[in-house]
Symmetry: C2
Subunit: 371 residues, 2 copies
């Protein structure tokens, strides 16, 4: 019954079954791009000062159920809590291990994190995103990690937390020839497409010959992308080289990863995108079009988390198009639902998410009232 | 037949069988203590300048089969190569994943490494080994990692690379009331016991009331130990809390880890020490006495790598009491031998080690001659 909440873009139930695993590993890649500082581009943080802290705070929330680098939890200005809450509930419920990767985060998360030793990304409207060597290292270290994890697990689920990442994704997709304008998603209900298009147009103008660049995909990503993209691509590529399945857990940002993998001629047989129904149903973006344009055989799995039927206000609002996805929430929920755990408690995932919400958001509010 | 090379200190073959695992994970903890700078205390490095690079170079060797932070590979002044060569051969042969932890290394390894965010240890003859907060964080982050890995594997093998570590181990063992003088091992054929005893005596003199300190084990280790000890103890403790078996892969240094675990009241039911026969047979140290004094039920598994029958000079010399163990060589070889891999090639572990030797040490010498 639970599985019926998962849909595959090819309408084939066997596709869903193929991504069943009893020993998946979840990897959360924390990263940062100064592109997120452009006013109006993101709401992944209660205010602009807090945006740089969001990846670290998300990683800490996954690890401890509370944050160390900030007070409270990452939230939109409206107080909608980070999707890390969904991710944590899903992973805990199904006993899926969670490894944090620091691939160019600005604020280092206060957790044991696998460091890829690369710097954070720059504002692509103003300058080159990163040194080519950093993009190369992100991919290389990712590959090493993916290979190691692929020896002990048959499925790697990779999520991300990088504010502003849909704009850099749009730049990468466009550079690789995908018609991605008006098709990347947003954590905001009003997707700032015009602003994103403007930023990307300025970034691409700096590149002399886009078609030539695309023959050197890592170089292209290093100029107009962000550190998350080559790092996640590396992890996926390493894992798949060991015959392991990969769920790219995220929204339209993950299509930029797919684009890079395809350009690097990595086989896309064992990879899918795993996301929430909020992304899939989003009228202001089109993950289906993007994925199909890159590789029509890559399925999109999406899960209906049924948050609208929650009595928690902060969760309900996910259904109004805020937050939608992030920190691998959709992919983690899919992997958790498909993993059969003997000791699995019988409560639904929604119930677990609500419990997590009570333990963190509501306790925090209560505490704020008292103090 | 291969298994017959593994012995258990309790003489019970079932004990060996208990540490069989089809999905072990190897974790290598890289660390540093300035105690290694005391002249004559270690030869884990071709010269004193290179000693600080040894942990990073070992980690790089495990990862790539070559080093990035130094030219060549870590070796004794005689040119005996690092035991990382054994570890890498064993892990590769049996497809055991390898994760590097950076827990207070001085030179950061150029690999994707799980950072515990702690500083390297100081010279215990001169000053406090580390801040209490660093020792606490090493344990806490280790525990988090052990818990995560314990969700996807049923056995964690933890090795270390920290030059000078037997001296800090001696200090910790002594502070916890173990009669460890003349019983810790050394990478040198002539174990510098007198020097070690002197260093430890000075370190312990700085502590006002040793017995009181031992009621606060983490504090004790932070004063006279090194960052490796709480970090490895944390990983072991986290893994065992998930019901997972642990091999402490190393020589007498691992008895200091055992000591800390016991003082922290961690159950020692599912833990063993895994080492080489070179440590077990060593006349200048006594791992059996140390382990028994801490907890008589903890078995020591040891493996005879049969390096004396190799025709490679650098490997043969292991039998003369040089190097002996390190980078988890013994424990990795045990886990690799006990892991049944369908695709396992039929060559012996010694043959794999010799191949690795040819690919690295001999190629390097050849290259040096040509250039």
């Amino acid at each position: 019954m639970l599985r019926s909440r998962i849909k595959s873009s090819d309408g084939n139930k066997e596709t869903i079954a193929r991504y069943t695993s009893n020993n998946p590993i979840f990897v959360c890649v924390t990263s940062y791009t100064e592109t997120s500082k452009i006013p109006g581009i993101t709401i992944a943080g209660a205010d602009s000062e807090l945006i740089a802290f969001t990846p670290a705070a998300d990683a800490e929330f996954l690890c401890y159920g509370r944050c160390k680098s900030i007070t409270g939890v990452p939230a939109t200005p409206d107080g909608i809590p980070t999707p890390a809450l969904i991710t944590r509930s899903a992973l805990m419920k199904s006993q899926i291990p969670n490894l944090i990767v620091d691939a160019g985060s600005k604020i280092k998360p206060l957790v044991p994190a696998i460091s890829f030793g690369i710097r954070h990304g720059k504002n692509i409207m103003k300058e080159r995103a990163m040194a080519r060597a950093d993009a190369e290292r992100g991919f290389e270290y990712g590959k090493i990690l993916g290979i190691q994890l692929g020896m002990v697990s048959d499925m790697i689920v990779v999520g991300e937390t990088i504010p502003g990442g849909t704009t850099t994704a749009l730049a990468v997709l466009t550079a690789f020839g995908i018609d991605a304008k008006y098709k990347v998603s947003s954590s905001m209900p009003n997707n700032p497409h015009t602003l994103k298009n403007k930023v990307v147009s300025i970034a691409l103008d700096r590149l002399k010959d886009v078609s030539r660049l695309c023959r050197d995909p890592i170089d292209c990503v290093s100029r107009i992308g962000d550190p998350m993209i080559p790092s996640v691509a590396g992890i996926a590529s390493g894992a798949m080289s060991k015959g392991v399945k990969v769920i790219l857990a995220g929204g339209t940002q993950m299509t930029a990863v797919l684009c890079l993998l395809k350009a690097l001629k990595v086989s896309l047989e064992k990879i899918c995108i795993g996301t929430t129904s909020y992304i899939e149903d989003d009228k202001s973006s089109d993950i289906h079009y993007l994925t199909k344009s890159i590789c029509s055989s890559v399925p999109i799995l999406s899960i209906n988390l049924n948050l609208q039927s929650s009595d928690k206000e902060g969760l309900k609002k996910y259904n109004t198009g805020i937050a939608k996805e992030g920190v691998g929430a959709g992919g983690a929920a899919i992997a958790a639902t498909l993993k059969s755990v003997k000791s699995h408690d019988s409560t639904s995932l929604l119930h677990s998410i609500e419990k997590e919400y009570e333990n963190t958001i509501e306790k925090q509010k209560k505490h704020a009232k008292i103090s």
